[in-house]
Amino acid sequence: MNDFKSEYQSAIHEMKEYHIDIADCMDEKRHRRRVLKRVQRTTATAFSAVCVVFICGFGTVRAADYIQNIIQVNESGFASGDAVTMAKTSAEGNNTYLLGEQVEMQGTQEDTLSYEIVSVPENSGMQQEMAVTDAALTADMIEMTGASVTGNSVTGNSVSGNSVTQETVEYISVTDNSSDTNNTQTVENASVTGNTAAAAENEKQEFQVKEIPVYNYSSLEELKKSEDIIFPQPSIKIGDNIEATDITVCGDWAMIRYETGEKTLWLERTDYAGTKGHASSKVFPGGITNERSYTTSQGYTYTLVDSVREAADEPLQIHAAITVASYEVYIDFMGFEEKEAMKIIDSIDISLYEQGD
């Protein structure tokens, strides 16, 4: 057996002998070059670190942008959501579900209800919520968590398809001025028809029932007294005589309806600041037409559409949508002329949404 020590020494001795001259040792230029090399390496390392910080920073910025909402116009109305969810939604196909077009109104109201379903792409883990707009707030609101509603097709007033796959669905019953907000219960095999959602007969699902309090007010003064929310209103006269003002606040969603003669104005805003992501849609019966935009004197650009009129004598319905900061704002004009609508839009100081952001 060979001796490692002698073999190693022999191998090292076979290496080319190195010689250095004293002049080379004292070579300041070479020393400086070496120092420079070290500095370059340090700089390269620092640059890499900066790149990492930049990328992380970009990620943070991207995360901050998450709540930046986008409003798009489709054939039925508006589709809105945060940029990421919208991108996912468009990549995976349309995940917006129209639940119902015409819903019988409670009490004296017989207006058309628009349903919004905040739908989230499959397995996104984001919150799904189905929001009912308009004044009929006794209609149920369903909020689904751990969202993974797949393959639901919705026609007319019923939801068909048996593939609601999430295990837990929060069912939020909305009742006027309800004080009981913590009521929860478990429901199995829920089926929803009309303004409820259908679920698979054979699939066992848990529905956690939670109530979101809904507050109704009949004047702006009352609203200001009771709620600390940002909800800028038109600063000009809407009509000669406002016959009714209905205000509803439900969580981050608030709506005001002014009635003046044959004209009706709805203002609706939702604050998505507290959400991780969302996608929703606002659907108008009969579809929409004449998409256009209008930029206010403040520099905010609204997207406007008209409802498709089934009869020539039907009043014009103009719908405006805009997203400001974390807010989504919808304004519906019924019976207003285009010019009147523009004036009203112009008079609303929506910069307040940004200030409050």
């Binding site: 001796d3 020590k5 191998a11 076979e14 080319k16 010689h19 250095i20 004293i22 040792c25 390496r41």
Partner: protein
Amino acid sequence: MEKEIKGDKVSVSEIADRDALQIKIDSYSDMLFKIAFLQIRNKQDAEDVVQETFYQFIKTNKEFESEEHEKAWLIRVTLNGCRKIWRSAWYRHTDAMPEVEVPQGMQGECESGMEKELLQRERSREIMEAVLKLPGKYREVIHLFYFQQMSIKEICLITERRESTVTSQLTRGREMLRKKLKEEYQYE
């Protein structure tokens, strides 16, 4: 009395000092270069480290108790210089291909025809490759122990490590070499 060397006027005493210094450099440069090369596996960097070591040696004009002390100081400065390079993020993130120094006279030596010599050279190459593939801390200890023939205590002083650490590093280094080398060697 003054002489002109490379455009600089230097005194005779300075020349004498320079000569003495050159002798010292000659006696250590090869050893230090080999230590540096084995540590950082890059000829250019190894040369830089050696030059930097002598630069420090001359600049500090340090007085040593003995030649052994001087040698130990130079090895320590060289190893520290290697670590400085090795520790830099750049070096760590650069996948350096070890520049295996082919033993002198090996290239194109087929004409020698001496099988024994060829086998010896092949063995030397294999050993060098195996040592160069060891992790730095083991490589350092192996080299100081087997080439510089330093005792574990001396290695401890130079590397500023505990005796137990050096012993275990030496043992592990040997185990690694045993696995890497085809041929069996006597390590003790």
